[in-house]
Amino acid sequence: MLSYTLKRLLTAIPTLLIVITISFFLMRVAPGGPFDGERQLPPEIEANLKAAYHLDEPLPQQYLRYMGNLLQGDFGPSFKYKDFSVTELIAQGFPVSLEIGGLAILLALLIGLPLGIIAALRRNTMIDYTVMGTALAGIAVPNFVIAPILALVFGVLLAWLPAGGWNGGALPNLVLPVIALSIQQIAYIARMMRASMIEVLGSHYIRTARAKGLSERQVIWRHAIRPALLPVTSYLGPAIAGIITGSVVIEQIFGIPGIGRYFVQAALNRDYTLVMGTVVFYGALIVLMNLLVDLLYSALDPQIRYDD
């Protein structure tokens, strides 16, 4: 297992190199540049800007320059947020996104998994229908609708909680964004857990376990839940990488200083260095999360082995 993990970590390097290279050129051949805006700049000013950011060099040279800096751990300055380097922006924003996203995931697991299991055990009863109906509502209403409604109801009309703002991560400011972010995840997790529970409960080896005379509780806890977690785990790997890197919608609506908005804003602004920073960061997280998922597989189902 250790050698497998090490091997995977080694393959992460070429994987990320490919991601960086493709992203770099993808971004640079796309139309629109960092200095295109409502106001056309006089040619000499555009020339100054290009020179300042080395955009006047041939693309391959810019690529080599970028990779050279990257190897020294330098992501460069942001094109748009000039008082900060890309590293500073991510270092400032990621803990915030991690806090909100981590809490949302935790909440989603704590609520979603039991709901899914209960619905599966009480299949086709009122409980099942109620749980799944609520979950569906959570899926059907997108978060850009949920978030403003939450802010309106709890922030304005009832005035129980702040309608927005971060305030250094004070508890009242966390509540609404975490809920808004977790609703959809609760629904996803509950739906998937219910389905795979049903799948597992109907499987051959659970029938065997029952036939052996194990109590229903033992069957469920010892034999059913772990394999049933497999598809949820597969889903969660990339999903967690996405959620802890923030959500542009939630961050903008609640005014939260996370990094989610950079993924969209940086691309819209053609803030090349910041785009690359987010790509490298997200790519590394994806690789890491998927590795964790693969390792978890073996824990959930000891029969799964990686033999290469």
């Binding site: 993808l26 796309a30 899926i139 691309a267 790519g283 994806i286």
Partner: protein
């Protein structure tokens, strides 16, 4: 869209050794599931309404009623579900939007289903170096900045509705592939796969006849979860100028427009949301029913 999923599964499941056609068997069991059948009927009705409805309404997609801007629903004016800020009939636009959203959902979900399931099953079943290689490719696809991918597609191919399907399908299969691969890794260690091996069944047949059918539960559920994602993703593409262009619209676009007007003209949010919600509810119950009907273990 549901009938397509059905026939696809029927194909992969048909087994010559069974006395009764498995497809017909599944259909028979599906028919016994009342929730699923009601959902199926409703879905067909929604689809048909979106297709035919606009021809029965007096307003065109882009027709402006210069006397009714942001007008509330009313029987007298003929705008049964109100008008938008530009004085266009909301019901008409929601039905047209349904055509776009349903077709995006149908095609993009189908693409992600086919690619994702095959890719995941092969990767998991073959394992070893190929699995490693295929999964690193998935990691790379996850990490690429989606927006630039989309913008470039637009540059290369121009504005084209099929591109939306392609772009969405191109990202949505990744989750599916990871899920199916996970299931396959677990399934291939089970006795029945090993038994098939021992009997000399060809790999291809093991994958299509045994692995995929047994992973069908999570797959169907994930499909029903993909549909809303795809429909909302389409509205983001419209933001970039890749999605549908005015005067054409979609449910995702209508909902995001309606959110702004939530307090002053709530019908602009409620009407398209309701259409989307009903569709999703139906899809889910139908999905559950299909899963039960296709489950090889209860056969």
């Amino acid at each position: 869209m549901t009938t397509d999923t059905l026939s696809d599964n029927r194909l992969s499941l048909s087994d010559a050794t069974a006395g009764e056609s498995l497809g017909r068997d599944a259909w028979r069991r599906l028919k016994q599931n009342r929730a699923a059948m009601v959902s199926l009927v409703l879905l067909v009705m929604i689809a048909v309404t979106c297709l035919i409805g606009p021809y029965l309404l007096p307003w065109g997609l882009a027709d402006v009623d210069w006397n009714a801007f942001s007008a509330a629903p009313s029987l007298e004016s003929g705008h049964f579900l109100g008008t938008d800020a530009n004085g266009r009939d909301l019901l008409t636009r929601t039905l047209y939007g349904g055509r776009v959203s349903l077709s995006v959902a149908l095609v993009a979900t189908f693409v992600s289903l086919v690619i994702g399931v095959l890719y995941g099953a092969i990767s998991g079943y073959v394992g070893g170096r190929l699995d490693s290689l295929m999964m690193r490719f998935v990691d790379i696809m996850y990490s690429l900045p989606f927006m630039f991918l989309v913008i470039l597609l637009m540059v290369v191919f121009g504005r084209n509705i099929f591109l939306i399907y392609a772009a969405i399908g191109a990202v949505e299969w990744l989750d599916m592939a990871r899920i199916v691969r996970g299931q396959t890794l677990a399934l291939k260690q089970r006795e029945f796969i090993e038994a098939a091996h021992a009997l000399g069944v060809r790999d291809r047949k093991i994958v299509t006849r045994h692995l995929i059918p047994n992973a069908i539960g999570p797959v169907i559920i994930y499909v029903t979860l993909t549909v809303p994602k795809v429909i909302l993703l389409e509205s983001f593409l419209s933001f970039l100028g890749l999605g549908v262009q005015e005067p054409l619209t979609s449910w995702g676009v209508l909902i995001s427009e309606g959110t702004d007007m939530m307090q002053s003209a709530p019908w602009l949010l409620l009407v398209p949301s309701l259409f989307l919600a009903v569709t999703l509810f139906c899809l889910n119950f139908l999905g559950d029913g299909l899963r039960d009907a296709l489950d090889p273990k209860t056969r």
